[in-house]
């Protein structure tokens, strides 16, 4: 199985199995999972709408994906699990520049195609709203270079089918001083907030909808500070170029927590991540041991407790 590979001892194996079994028991029974070519039962009188992952065969609605059947009013669709990212307008994503083309950057965002970030849908460094000149175009590389990690928002699909991004906000832009993690996209749920400032650690956590997760040193977003002296900024970066050891440790700790949860296949919720980090600190687990067998099992057990308490609270 994909994910982490390590030997579990006998007790650990039993504990893990029982934890997973409990998770299975806890999971709501109402969700109907389907595999490719399974018939999705629908009552025809309703006049249903077939959504993603469905097709019609001999009057039956048939799944074309493995996943979970979701019904929203008349719409029936299959929410796929392990698949590439399906962009929706407004999604916050993390991506990596792979090419600089005329007036645009191409980003790899775990979608079936590369995403396009137009120079025009990007705030200029000087913060002035104006037409982009040829000079700007030549200076594109000073903004984002190849392999830079960027945070942006899905703007929509062009008529030619390509995916457009925009980064017209100070919170978007280049991400530095941290690590980017790749997790399956289905583990990141669409929420109100995808930017999380974990104050206690001084760390920013960006859960990109496309399954790319950013963990890095906290950067103050200066909405008002539109005009920044070029020189001043340079100094600043130089000063900040040394991230404190402590912060670096926290970055690693959080990154490992994300890795661990992804390996377990648990949804990446900021609370869970923070819980995991805290638990590791509390029980004095070294950063490297967070990816070890014991903590793996403990995390699974903690998740069981969390879900059980959630259930109780609900009922």
């Amino acid at each position: 199985m994909r994910g982490l590979q390590f030997p579990l001892n006998q007790t650990q194996r039993v504990r893990l199995q029982s934890a997973l079994q409990q998770l299975q028991d806890v999971a709501s029974k109402s969700t109907a999972s389907v595999t490719v070519a399974d018939t999705i039962p629908v009552s025809n009188e309703d006049g249903i709408l077939k959504g993603h992952g469905t097709s019609e065969l001999n009057g039956e609605v048939v799944a074309t994906l493995c996943g979970v059947v979701e019904r929203v009013n008349k719409l029936v669709y299959v929410r796929s699990l392990r698949s590439r990212y399906k962009p929706e307008v407004g999604d916050i994503i993390v991506g990596r520049v792979i090419e600089i083309a005329p007036k645009r950057w191409r980003l790899e965002i775990n979608f079936s195609q590369d995403a396009v970030l137009m120079l025009s849908s990007m705030n200029l460094p000087d913060g002035i709203q104006r037409r982009r000149t040829a000079v700007d175009e030549l200076n594109m590389r000073s903004i984002f270079e190849e392999n830079d990690v960027i945070c942006a928002e899905v703007r929509g699909f062009q008529r030619d089918g390509s995916l457009q991004l925009q980064a017209r906000s100070q919170k978007y832009g280049k991400l530095t001083r941290g690590q980017m993690l790749t997790v399956p996209a289905y583990l990141v749920k669409r929420r109100k907030h995808h930017f999380h400032h974990l104050q206690q650690y001084g760390v920013d956590l960006i859960l990109g909808c496309n399954g790319y997760v950013w963990v890095g040193e906290h950067v103050e977003v200066r909405e008002n500070d539109m005009v920044v002296d070029q020189k001043n900024k340079l100094d600043e970066t130089q000063v900040q170029s040394l991230v404190s050891f402590e912060t670096r440790q926290f970055v690693c700790r959080i990154a490992n927590a994300v890795r661990l949860l992804a390996a377990l296949g648990f949804a990446l919720l900021v609370e869970v991540i923070v819980d995991t980090v805290e638990a590791s600190v509390l029980s004095n687990v070294a950063i490297k041991d967070m990816l070890g067998a014991e903590f793996y099992v403990q995390t699974a057990e903690r998740e069981v407790q969390r879900r059980l308490s959630l259930m109780k609270r609900r009922s």
């Binding site: 199985m1 994909r2 994910g3 997973l20 998770l23 299975q24 806890v26 999971a27 709501s28 969700t31 999972s33 389907v34 595999t35 490719v36 070519a37 399974d38 992952g53 097709s55 065969l57 048939v62 074309t64 994906l65 493995c66 996943g67 979970v68 796929s80 699990l81 392990r82 698949s83 590439r84 790899e108 079936s112 195609q113 590369d114 089918g161 390509s162 289905y186 583990l187 377990l264 296949g265 648990f266 949804a267 998740e303 879900r307």
Partner: protein, 242 residues
């Protein structure tokens, strides 16, 4: 050589004529890939990895209204008894690559992923006859794992005709006996044939029997694959939590 013992009705490996070898499928064996699977039919072991849909690498191959499907088949050097270095892209592997690509293309809903590319890599880890079928089954599992929309599950199985009896799922020693060998791939739900290969002559009525046997094998494999996928989907879902 007698491939079916006329006295006991068993084949050399203890199977009856209409029995398949033990099959086993496992999903997610390659961490980096979007979808991956290993499929075993007896001693034949095949691994498949799917990448994509992703940006088309070679822009002039891009198709504007559908996805580009590519397939690469290879045999590990250690997959057969004699360990000799085989040149990459020999006629046989080119042919099998093509066969797998065409078979899989028939079931992938390529029009849903325009301007993208899907790469299927299959490698034979251990060869003991029926590699073609095992590759197709592994590729089906890997594609389903990668969440690529498909019309139906394609499964494949071979059947041969030796000692005047149709035999299901030939192993290497039966395959190399030189009799006709029919490889069939079907869309499991719709019962449509997407692959049919035979490089020998058989009378029509016998051929139909052999093919029917192979189709039954395909259906058995389809049931198994559906089971594997269903379990996998359920597990992913409950682990993720609502």
């Amino acid at each position: 050589m007698e491939h079916v013992d006329p006295l006991t009705g068993f084949r050399q490996d203890g199977r009856r004529v209409n029995e398949m070898r033990q099959i086993r499928g496992e999903i997610g064996v390659v961490a980096k890939a979007d979808g991956s699977a290993q499929f075993e039919m007896g001693n034949t072991k095949v691994i498949a990895a799917v990448y994509g849909p992703r940006e088309v690498q070679n822009k002039n191959q891009q198709i504007n209204n559908q996805a580009l499907v590519r397939c690469e088949y290879s045999m590990a050097n250690f997959s057969t008894g004699d360990r000799k270095r085989k040149p990459k892209g020999d006629r046989r592997s080119t042919e099998i690559s093509l066969v797998i690509r065409q078979t899989m293309e028939a079931c992938i809903l390529t029009h849903l992923m325009p301007r993208s590319q899907i790469d299927i890599y299959v490698q034979v880890l251990q060869a003991d006859g029926g590699t073609r079928s095992a590759c197709i089954n592994a590729a089906t599992l890997a594609l389903a794992d990668a969440g690529i929309p498909m019309r139906d599950l394609v499964t494949s199985c071979s059947a041969g005709y030796l000692c005047s009896t149709p035999l299901l799922d030939l192993n290497y020693s039966e395959d190399s006996a030189g009799g006709p060998d029919v490889t069939v791939g079907i869309l499991a739900k719709t019962d449509k044939v997407t692959l049919l290969q035979m490089d020998a002559k058989l009378p029509m009525d016998i051929f139909e029997n052999v093919m029917q046997l192979a189709i039954e094998g395909c259906k058995a494999i389809a049931n198994y694959i559906r089971e594997v996928l269903g379990e996998n989907t359920k597990e992913l879902e409950y682990r993720r939590g609502s």
